[in-house]
């Protein structure tokens, strides 16, 4: 496979210039994520209003894939309900692992398409964890109620 399929312009751009980067001082939820095998670290901050995500930011260091994935994630989950964010994660997960595709509700299709550039990792099994780290950490933040949590992918 051509490396340009993996490292698409959008990935490099978000890798170089991550969006929503930096702590969120009034976060209602956050979690630390860690991939012990390569050392990637990410912290996800979320501000919830009821079950709606009004703000999502991240901090950390990692490879282009994990940084771009965190950056794109914070963009697409903003202003979504928790159920919508979860649907996006399920869909994304099958995209990057090459599992059977889970359809998205029509309203989320555009957001799903925005994550498409990361689908290239499914040809690089060693890198799938890079793409999913931010999402697993996001999920951990949500499940932790308002308490900090830590997850890791291996």
């Amino acid at each position: 496979m051509d490396l340009r399929e993996l490292y698409q312009d959008i990935i490099l751009d978000h890798g170089r210039h991550p969006r929503n980067f930096g702590a969120l001082s009034d976060a209602s939820h956050f979690a630390h994520g860690h991939n012990p095998l390569c050392g990637d670290k990410v912290t996800i901050f979320v501000k919830l209003d009821g079950d709606r995500i009004v703000e999502a930011r991240f901090e950390g260091h990692g490879c282009a894939i994990s940084t771009a994935s965190a950056s794109l994630m914070t963009e697409v989950v903003k202003n979504k309900t928790l159920a919508e964010a979860d649907a996006l994660f399920q869909n994304f997960h099958t995209k990057v692992t090459g599992g059977e595709q889970i359809a998205l509700p029509a309203a989320l299709e555009d957001d799903g398409d925005r994550l498409e550039p990361l689908a290239g990792v499914k040809s690089y099994p060693a890198r799938v964890k890079c793409a999913t780290l931010a999402w697993h950490t996001f999920e951990a933040a949500m499940h932790a109620g308002s308490i900090a949590a830590a997850v890791k992918t291996e």
Binding site: R4, D9, I10, D13, C38, C63, R127, C130
Partner: protein, 420 residues
């Protein structure tokens, strides 16, 4: 047993790498493979692969307790392997060679048997900032159990061990020094014999972690005079699952068993058990018989190539790699180079090591990216991850050249203008 053809004439300080490479089937099966991850684990020569298979076909049975011929042959091969290791390390006696799964198990054995018996609350164990996790975590576990203090020798400005600090940090409370012989991230060689003298002068015992050294340097434990030495077979061209703990006989004699079970006991009643002498005391259960035999075949292979030849080859290649990388724009080599052997860590501006490894893999260049099981060293260096290239007996300048080409390709891929 497959024997090697006699070595080809060598040119200058080097040897015939093309011939060596033909002895490693992995290169035939994976044409174009540029294998630069020998520090994680070495590839295996034909003599090891075929020798293990032949052993199972012809001579296999459980060892030590069998009266019949097959078992006697198996036992002779297994104990012969122990003698091969003894000779290879120049240990004084074959009873000083304990077979373990690998360096990690050897280090745990020393910590849990010797350490738990002879260390007291307040005693200090001296480690260095260069260590692999396997030579850190067992001592932390022991510290937490016994109330020890771990003292860390810092790096000098070249990224090697700070010997002046080592000397300063040795105190009458230092009971054990546990230090790597060659650092697995940077390839720094420590002045092992000098450290042993300093430690002994202070009355401390000293353990050397020889994982990266044994495949690259002639090692003579009597000349070094170290108290413990550990190595992993899979890093010196042998099979997985086998390693060696060397310790002076008087020290082994004083150590209680760690694991217990068959083969390490003299008598068992439900009330009481008496234990064997070393090394059997430390080898509970059926040992990794084929592992030990495979390791001996690997050491024989290294001996046949010649251990100073190997060292010279690794030295020349390491220098060549460091020199080439040092001249590349955007590339930083970790640590200064004069005392480095077999390993080069580097970073590339704007390309994370993990991405480098993926990009290199597309052109069949296999390197390692990450913390290399040495997170404290990475913290000291202020790096989250590095890319690491490491060499073996089968590596040559063409591998380094392929690496350089792959770095350039990665730079081109990542430095391209992109649409935001």
């Amino acid at each position: 047993m497959t024997m090697l053809a006699p070595l080809r004439p060598v040119a200058g300080n080097s040897f015939d790498v093309a011939w060596i490479r033909r002895e490693f089937p992995v290169f035939e099966r994976n044409p174009g493979l540029v294998f630069l991850d020998t520090a994680a684990s070495a590839q295996k020569p034909r003599s090891v692969i075929d020798g293990i298979a032949e052993f199972y076909r012809s001579d296999y049975a459980n060892v030590h307790r069998g009266v019949y011929g097959l078992s006697a042959r198996s036992t002779a091969r297994f104990e012969g392997a122990r003698e091969t290791v003894r000779r290879f390390l120049n240990a004084a006696d074959v009873s000083e060679i304990v077979f373990v799964r690998g360096a990690t198990e050897g280090l745990n054995l020393v910590a849990q048997s010797w350490g738990a018996t002879f260390l007291k609350p307040g005693d200090q164990v001296l480690l260095s900032a260069l260590e692999h996790h396997s030579n850190i975590v067992p001592w932390q576990q022991l510290r937490d159990r016994l109330g020890l203090e771990l003292v860390i020798v810092p790096l000098d400005s070249s990224g090697g061990l700070d010997v002046a600090a080592f000397e300063r940090l040795l105190t009458p409370r230092t009971r054990l020094v546990a230090i790597t012989h060659i650092a697995n991230v940077t390839g720094h060689v420590v002045p092992a014999a000098a450290l042993v003298r300093l430690a002994h002068a202070r009355g401390a015992k000293i353990l050397l972690d020889g994982c990266q050294a044994v495949p690259r340097l002639p090692v003579d434990v009597q000349a070094l005079d170290c108290d413990f030495y550990v190595l992993s077979g899979h890093k010196c061209y042998g099979p997985t699952g086998i390693g060696v703990l060397y310790a002076k006989r008087a020290i082994l004699d004083a150590m209680p068993p760690w694991q217990s079970g068959g083969d390490m006991i003299t008598t068992v009643t439900f009330e009481r058990t008496t234990y064997q002498e070393p090394p059997q005391r430390f080898e509970a259960g059926t040992p990794d018989i084929s592992g030990a035999i495979g390791l001996a075949l690997a050491l024989d292979f290294m001996d046949q190539v010649g251990r100073t030849t190997i060292r010279d080859h690794e030295q020349a290649l390491t220098r060549y790699a460091r020199d080439r990388l040092a001249t590349m724009p955007g590339v930083s080599v970790v640590g200064a180079g004069s005392e480095c052997l077999g390993v080069v860590s580097f970073t590339v501006d704007g390309v994370h090591p993990h991405d480098l490894a993926t990009i290199f893999d597309q052109s069949n260049v296999a390197i390692r990216a990450g913390h290399h099981c040495a997170q404290p060293l990475m913290d000291t260096l202020g790096l989250a991850a590095t890319a690491r290239a490491s060499f073996g007996i089968y590596s040559d300048e063409s591998d380094v050249d392929a690496l350089v080409t792959a770095i350039r390709a990665a730079q081109r891929l990542f430095d391209r203008p992109v649409q935001g």
